[in-house]
């Protein structure tokens, strides 16, 4: 999805440019919206999100993420669904609508956006071993075995 990340460590700021080809180009931001005390979103003329500024970066991102500027930090519905191993169509019903799901950092006409680290944390919290059902992979293997028998 992204990206280029500009970091000012001394003042604890980070700017995530979602369209790196726009780096250094003057006036590509048509509108800036402060959606939280420490988050400013930049939109282009069509209202598409092109940049996210974090005014208190260390509170929103972990240090490793700040160091690896090339890593994807923001995810949309498609990426979040992939991270959780569900179809995009089931993602809202099974996860995003649940009260323990992380709040998006932005909700725009083009969709919702989350910090990758928040989704990773949520996914980790859901990795509890099940005692009532066989793992999906085992079930498929058993079915294949049954089919293979004469």
């Amino acid at each position: 999805m992204l990206s280029y990340v500009d970091i000012d460590r001394e003042h604890d700021l980070a700017y995530i440019l979602l369209r790196p080809e726009l780096r250094g180009r003057r006036g590509v931001v048509a509108r800036s919206i402060r959606v939280a005390d420490d988050i400013v979103l930049d939109l282009d003329e069509s209202g598409r999100l092109i940049g996210i500024e974090l005014l208190n970066a260390s509170a929103r991102l972990d240090v490793d993420e700040l160091k690896t500027a090339s890593r994807e930090i923001i995810v949309g519905v498609k990426e979040a669904a992939e991270m959780l191993g569900v179809e995009k169509s089931n993602f809202v019903r099974d996860h995003a609508s649940k009260p323990d799901f992380p709040a998006p950092i932005a909700e725009l006409a083009s969709g919702r956006f989350w910090l990758r680290s928040a989704i990773e944390q949520y996914a980790e919290s859901k990795k509890k071993p099940s005692t009532t059902r066989l793992p999906e992979e085992g079930t498929r293997r058993q079915r294949a075995h049954r089919r293979a028998r004469p």
């Binding site: 500009d6 970091i7 000012d8 001394e10 003042h11 700021l13 700017y15 440019l17 726009l22 250094g24 180009r25 003057r26 006036g27 590509v28 931001v29 509108r31 800036s32 919206i33 402060r34 400013v40 930049d42 940049g51 500024e53 005014l55």
Partner: protein, 108 residues
């Protein structure tokens, strides 16, 4: 060098100049100050099409139009320029130095 900052350390303007900061003379309200724009701020100004003169103009607005102080030594000021309203976020490492840490245009 200029006056001591919050921690009592003198502010080294040469260090700013040598590390890509823009160092200009300006005013904070009616007080003469040195205005420093970081490389990060300059990047935001380019994408958001904000000129250094507009930043200086907003910083020089009368004190009554400025926003409240923010946590951790940050301050903000918003004001109208010929091309629209902008918000400037800054710190004051010394009484006579304003370091602009980011700038963005505010929607009407």
């Amino acid at each position: 060098m200029t006056g001591p900052g919050d921690a009592g350390e003198p502010v080294d303007l040469d260090r700013y100049r040598k590390t890509g900061h823009l160092v200009l003379e300006g005013k904070l309200g009616d007080e003469p100050v040195i205005v420093v724009m970081t490389p990060y701020t300059q990047g935001r100004m380019t994408l958001r099409d904000v000129e250094a003169t507009e930043v200086l103009e907003v910083l020089a607005k009368p004190r009554s139009t400025r926003g409240t102080g923010r946590p951790s030594g940050r301050y903000e000021v918003a004001g109208a320029t010929d091309r629209g309203r902008i918000r400037v976020v800054y710190e004051r490492p010394a009484r006579d130095v304003v370091v602009v840490i980011t700038v963005y245009p505010e929607s009407e």
